[in-house]
């Protein structure tokens, strides 16, 4: 029996390309990885494309146009396993801030000729359109977690990605709590781990780029933010960034939005 290497495809929807770049940032692991997997479709790396089906598709970006809503169905149909990578693909990304506003007004602000632009009123996660086998969080995703997910796929096992909060990672690496020690507002208690608790280790509060952790105690966090002098408007802003449309974050920001 001859062994055929599994095929990998990387797809881009509305995004900044940063999560795809994380694939290229594997650097030392990149060429060995290319030895185990056939990179069949990855426009950031090669013009060569092999038509599907693909064994593994990594999908970056959110759905923001009618054309992309159609394209993701084709990608799903051509993929045995589909894994979404990054905040755009898993929650709609920063461009989901339009979901809280009027997209027509947004068009007027940015484009001189809004009629040339085709766009949807909302930016949505891939999983709202097609079934997804695994969602890898982060804005951007973490390199180590990406390796784990691809390795797990090759070994036919579930990826070992934990959904506890950033606080656990701070404890693990011995970082002193920035809120307790310095009174710095920090989204760590409600944000999923995965970055290695980067921000607190640089003396700043977590800003939630990995999206909500599994269990979010929002009343406790929001009352602590108020004690620290965070205004209601800034509280809303802090939950309306890269994972604004993730249900748990959306709930918090909507609960604190000033009523008009």
């Amino acid at each position: 029996m001859t062994s055929v290497k599994p095929t990998l495809a990387v797809w881009k929807f509305a995004s900044c390309d940063g999560c795809q770049l994380t694939v290229l940032n594997l650097e030392d692991d990149l060429l060995p990885l290319a030895g185990e997997i056939d990179i069949a479709h990855f426009l950031e790396a090669t013009r060569a494309t092999v038509s599907g089906p693909y064994d593994l598709s990594l999908v970056e970006g959110s759905i923001t146009t009618p054309h992309d809503a159609e394209r993701i169905r084709e990608v799903r149909a051509a993929s045995r396993t589909l894994i979404t990578i990054g905040a755009c693909a898993t929650s709609g990304g920063i461009q989901a801030l339009r979901n809280f506003a009027n997209v027509e007004e947004f068009l007027q602000i940015v484009y001189a000729r809004p009629e040339y632009i085709s766009t949807l009123a909302n930016s949505t996660a891939i999983a709202e359109h097609v079934p997804v086998d695994f969602e890898l969080r982060g804005c951007p995703i973490d390199k180590g977690q990406l390796v784990e997910v691809v390795t797990a796929f090759l070994a036919h096992r579930r990826p070992n990605i934990r959904n506890h909060s950033v606080c656990v990672e701070c404890k693990k690496r011995g970082t002193v709590c920035v809120t307790v020690a310095h009174g710095t507002p920090c989204l760590g208690p409600v944000t999923q781990a995965g970055c290695g608790a980067l921000c607190p280790s640089y003396a700043r509060g977590c800003y939630g780029c990995f999206g909500p952790a599994e269990t979010v105690n929002s009343p406790s966090l929001t009352s602590r933010f108020k004690e620290l002098g965070v205004s209601e408007a800034d509280l809303v802003r802090s939950f309306r960034t890269f994972n604004a449309n993730a249900p748990a974050f959306r709930e918090i920001s909507e609960a604190h939005e000033p009523r008009t």
Partner: protein, 410 residues
């Protein structure tokens, strides 16, 4: 991309950019001024530092704060990391395979493994700077208005210095290697636009210079550059106010500031056969390699002069006003303008990325490039057009890996 040909003459070239709109300038309204480095970084995962730095300069401009000394040096060092990372990526993974006839770097590595590995090593050296100073290479977390959340120690940087010395050797070899590539016969009479400074090869310093000898303050950008919205593309098209198209990026920086490169970089450029100005856009790969070498050299210099600042950032209080910031992203000038109220809440934002400045020029290049190669089969022509677009290292670089060329011969 559509090329219209009538009676053997190219009538029209239209490059369409399908990047779906994300409305940054719209949702920045109502955000706090301190949020701009993190928010605008997300415009581009390949040059987030450029967005962070232009945003910082614009906000500090409103608030009347000038960051200098060790903090400014750290910013320049961080930016060198992005130049090294982005240029190495473009040279080895995107552009070189075009020249050698491979669809991509993975295929190229089968025959030229040492060259691809050298490229990846260089790229990692850039990422090492970004990781240390920024926390991570894509969307660094350590940048704030006024400086950094935390500053590295001299010991931290000493480790980096060793890596950069090796990277500098790799960069010298890369310049030499790029010079051996075969370049299509093609040169254009460009108008170049880049930051210009009397003393230093500009990354985030100086005025905006034009190759006709004129220059203007960053705050006058809107008077000198106009953007138009054309039907066939989601990217806006920029021109100088007198209607001229222009080129931003490595060739422009080199033409306007080449004499300010480090001696080692100047020597490598001369050995590679570059004159004082390079008008063949295909040779931008050499200029990118020269800039990579410069960035390694400059990073070592900055590390050698580094003293840990007393505080890692300056306090910046919000003010009502309008502020401007322009820095040299790897692919050219990145301009930000903001208007804030007295609480530092953004009322208006304008961001002009390098790709929209270069787009008119890309179309003009393609027009004259295709004109002299109309006899080629569409497949070969498509390959060459992709390569010609990649000369500009557009943010849509990867999209152009799948150029859908239509030649309409009427």
């Amino acid at each position: 991309m559509v090329v219209r040909v009538r009676d053997g003459k190219v009538q029209d070239v239209e490059l369409s950019i399908y990047e779906p709109p994300r409305f940054f300038e719209a949702f920045l309204r109502g955000r706090r001024f301190t949020e701009t480095p993190d928010i605008t970084a997300r415009i581009c995962g390949i040059c987030p530092v450029a967005y962070q730095m232009s945003a910082c300069l614009a906000m500090e401009n409103i608030c009347g704060v000038t960051v200098d000394g060790a903090i400014a040096d750290l910013r320049r060092l961080l930016y060198c990391g992005e130049w090294i990372e982005s240029h190495s990526l473009h040279i080895h993974l995107l552009h070189a395979p075009d020249f050698l006839g491979y669809p991509g770097a993975v295929e190229m590595a089968k025959d030229h493994r040492d060259i691809v590995e050298r490229g990846l090593r260089l790229k990692r050296a850039g990422n090492d700077i970004l990781n240390l100073l920024g926390g991570r290479s894509v969307h660094p977390i350590n940048v704030r208005i006024g400086g950094f959340y935390s500053a590295p120690s001299r010991q931290d940087l000493a480790v980096l210095r060793e890596t950069l010395l090796r990277a500098r050797d790799d960069a010298v070899a890369t310049v030499r290697w790029c010079a051996t590539l075969e370049f299509p016969e093609f040169s254009q009479d460009y108008t170049y636009v880049a930051l210009q400074h009397p003393d230093i090869y500009p990354i985030m310093e100086g005025r905006i210079g034009v190759s006709d000898g004129s220059s203007f303050e960053v705050s006058a950008f809107d008077d000198h550059v106009v953007e138009e919205h054309v039907e066939h593309s989601n990217a806006l098209h920029a021109r100088l106010s007198d209607g001229r198209s222009y080129m931003a990026g490595p060739l422009a920086r080199y033409a306007l500031n080449g004499q300010l490169l480090s001696p080692l970089a100047r020597e490598a450029a001369a050995d590679a056969g570059l004159g004082l100005i390079c008008n063949n856009p295909f040779q931008s790969i050499i200029v990118r390699a020269v800039e990579t070498l410069y960035a390694c050299d400059e990073a070592v210099r900055l590390i050698d002069h580094y003293e840990v600042p007393e505080r890692s950032f300056l306090e910046v209080q919000p003010r009502a006003g309008v502020g401007y910031g322009a820095t040299e992203a790897p692919r050219g000038i990145l301009y930000h303008r903001y208007q804030t109220d007295g609480d530092g809440i953004i009322e208006d934002a304008r961001i002009v990325p390098p790709t929209s400045q270069n787009q008119v020029r890309i179309e003009e290049d393609l027009r004259s490039f295709v004109q002299s190669r109309l006899e080629l089969a569409d497949e070969e022509l498509t390959w060459l057009c992709e390569q010609a677009i990649r000369n500009y290292d557009p943010c849509i670089s990867c999209a152009t890996h799948f150029l859908d060329l239509k030649v309409v011969r009427e």
